[in-house]
């Protein structure tokens, strides 16, 4: 990413994902806070309709045309759909989620504090017992190696439901294309959604 672009990045709280409607307001607020008409890149997919209803105001929005960030990590929408077809019972781990503490192990620790061990175990089982595979996906080899110990800790915990652990080396091609298109918007293609000024994000723009 060029330096002048990197300077203008706003990071949003990951926890917003748990309540997609809050994500909508938070992203809208962030857009409204940009003073001059700009090209705003949203590093989100549709995210459970978390972006639905967002208005571009005086800006132009550029958004990866994916359901969520897993397709972005895998490198393409097609790859994600293939994974869904072959093993729907997959729970994904990413570097971002490991850092944000959004993974089954961390979740267990958190709810154990709140509800005690017995209820926490029950809550976890209710949610996760039907999955069969834990996949740690990264853009590159370095991240894979750097975060492997953490991922493996989660994998160990998930043994309680018999998950098998796999590592997938995704691709950063989607992110690189996003930056390319951000620098020259006419290079956009069917992998991106562009919302013109005053336009609104709708679900059907993401359906394919």
């Amino acid at each position: 990413m060029p330096a002048d672009m990197a300077e203008q990045v706003t990071f949003m709280d990951y926890g917003l994902h748990r309540v997609p409607s809050k994500l909508t307001w938070a992203v809208q607020d962030a857009i409204d806070a940009v003073e001059h008409p700009s090209l705003i890149v949203l590093g989100y997919g549709l995210c459970g309709n978390g972006l639905k209803g967002i208005n571009a105001r005086q800006h132009t929005l550029l958004i990866p045309r994916t359901d969520d960030c897993i397709a972005i990590l895998l490198g393409s929408y097609k790859k994600y759909i293939q994974e869904f077809d072959t093993t729907p019972g997959t729970y994904y781990l990413t570097k971002g989620w490991l850092e944000a503490g959004s993974n089954p192990l961390q979740e267990y620790e958190e709810i154990k504090e709140k509800y005690g061990e017995k209820d926490a175990t029950w809550i976890m089982d209710q949610q996760y017992q039907h999955y069969e595979r834990l996949v740690f996906v990264t853009h590159n080899q370095e991240d894979l190696e750097a975060y492997r110990p953490q991922a493996q800790e989660v994998a160990e915990y998930c043994q309680r439901w018999g998950y098998r652990y796999e590592e997938v080396l995704g691709s950063d091609i989607y992110v690189r294309r996003l930056i390319e298109v951000a620098m020259a918007i006419d290079k956009t293609d069917s992998d991106f959604v562009v919302i013109p000024p005053n336009g609104e994000v709708t679900q059907d723009l993401f359906m394919r």
């Binding site: 409607s21 459970g48 994600y80 869904f84 729907p88 209820d119 809550i123 999955y131 993401f206």
Partner: protein, 213 residues
């Protein structure tokens, strides 16, 4: 009277699976009918659970515990409701579509529909179109309910409706759909008969679909 109702709905809201059955029994002992206990106690509590979750005031663990408390109450009420000859509105075949393993919302809707007087055939999650079709043949339900929580999998709802059509069964059932990413517009596009945004709404809709509301 209203005191026991309030205690019941509070027990559901608090997800207290020990207290709920006790309160159900107390209500019955006081002379309330199973239907009154259900409608004015359990269901009122579950309605509020849905509202609070949508607002972000309640999270998945609490929703799960509330559902569990509700299930504990239903365990007592179900046989009594059948016995009391409460009218059966028909069967609903319910499942989360292919590729999707989210089942909390679908289970809640199932429970509320059961409370409304339907018999539920729960097909679980990651349900292939063929499995829906076989279940329609086997159980001859009045309604088929589908849930999807991922925009990635909501397309499978359309595929399933097509498959039901191709199997020549579309005219034998009503189809209703729901799940967080689904809306009325999408439901119309794929040719569903109805869309419900929450569990109580789903139960109300199911009644309408069989002409009982």
């Amino acid at each position: 009277m209203s005191e026991i109702y309030e205690k019941l709905s509070t027990a559901i809201l608090e997800g207290d699976a020990d207290k709920t059955p006790k309160l159900v029994n107390r209500g019955l002992k006081q002379g309330l009918t199973p239907k009154e206990v259900l409608d004015n106690g359990l269901i009122v509590g579950m309605d509020e659970v849905g509202v609070r979750f949508k607002r972000g005031d309640m999270f998945v663990p609490e929703v799960l515990m509330s559902a569990d408390a509700m299930a504990a109450g239903m365990l007592i009420l179900r046989p009594l409701l059948v016995e009391s000859g409460a009218e059966l509105l028909g069967k609903i075949v319910m499942g989360t579509v292919k590729g999707d393993l989210h089942d909390i919302g679908k289970n809640l809707v199932s429970m509320m529909c059961e409370g409304a007087g339907f018999e539920i055939v729960n097909l679980g999650f990651n349900v292939e179109p063929d499995v829906f079709i076989n279940a329609i043949k086997e159980h001859q339900p009045a309604i088929v309910g589908m849930s999807a929580m991922l925009t990635t999998t909501m397309r499978a709802m359309g595929h399933t409706i097509k498959a039901i059509e191709e199997a020549g069964l579309r005219d034998t059932v009503k189809v209703f759909v729901g799940g967080a990413p689904v809306d009325k517009e999408f439901a119309d596009t794929i040719g569903a008969d109805g869309y419900g945004s929450n569990a109580p709404g789903g139960a109300e809709l199911a009644k309408q679909l069989v002409g009982a509301a």
